[in-house]
Chain length 145, copies 2
DNA sequence: ATAGATGCAAACGATTTGCAGGGTT
DNA sequence: AACCCTGCAAATCGTTTGCATCTAT
């Protein structure tokens, strides 16, 4: 369902071109350490004199996302925010009980909770196991639930 | 900054009315255990023959949210999903790896986290397993660690 | 009778996309 | 020259809101 991997035969070389606007977006992402929305990033660029259309900002962010160069998450109001990727913490898996598809998820709240309860009860060297399963959207839609 | 608390003098009684549509929304929230978006909830109602406008569903959910009757979070695509604040406090155990002493602990943060990650990724019927182990204070003191 | 509630449709704000022209390779 | 990329505007989509009407109280 993703990354069909490179081409089979002698295929068309790097099909992605480097342009002024992409460089501008990358530079901005580099400069801004926090999470920013596409709109905010666009405003930053405009303010800096960089002329890049909002559509291009969205398209570039989408690309960076696919390439795993940026992280994204939703703000409470639903706006998506991005940040250049800083690979971190250990994660757990959310597994579909039907097709066994697994999604990586971070479990910071759980790590914290585990450490806390252990500490609260005087336990040392805490260790934990966490497993979350469910029925993924595809399987549910296909009635495979 | 909120809930100005009841009225000072002899003021206008309960200003919120109970209506057929609010009851329908509440019933649906009661019936549906997982997180649902306003649109989905609206579809459920329509399918069940309940006639409630989408706008009213949104307004009612907003109210329930302000009253703290429902939880909300954003799905990956930015759509907001809601769930009646069910405090189904089931508990887990903290086990000593040396003497197998077990302590009951509540894991609300974990329950919430599990439900949240499942919802955020479109998984339904979430289920989870959590195990925390460590070395209890006694065993550690006795050098049995 | 009165003020809150509802339905409908228009308004909104974020994000996406079709299309024609422009720039990179 | 070939094809990707960009800009612009129109289209989507979830959610909010104005307004006339309805109804619980």
């Amino acid at each position: 369902m993703s990354s069909p991997s490179p081409e089979a035969a002698g295929s068309p070389a790097p099909r992605v071109r480097s342009t002024r606007q992409k460089a501008a977006v990358d530079a901005a992402l580099e400069r801004i350490e926090d999470f920013v929305s596409a709109q905010e990033l666009h405003a930053h660029l405009k303010e800096a004199g960089e002329r890049v259309s909002l559509a291009t900002v969205y398209r570039t962010l989408q690309q960076r996302l696919e390439d795993g160069d940026v992280d994204t998450l939703r703000r409470e109001d639903g706006e998506a925010v991005y940040r250049r990727c800083a690979v971190d913490a250990h994660h757990h898996h959310l597994v579909c009980r039907v097709c066994w598809t697994a999604v990586e998820v971070t479990a910071d709240p759980v790590e914290d909770w585990a450490a806390r309860v252990a500490a609260e009860h005087g336990f040392s060297s805490p260790r934990h196991t966490v497993e979350v399963t469910g029925v993924c959207a595809d399987c549910a839609a296909a009635g495979r639930a």
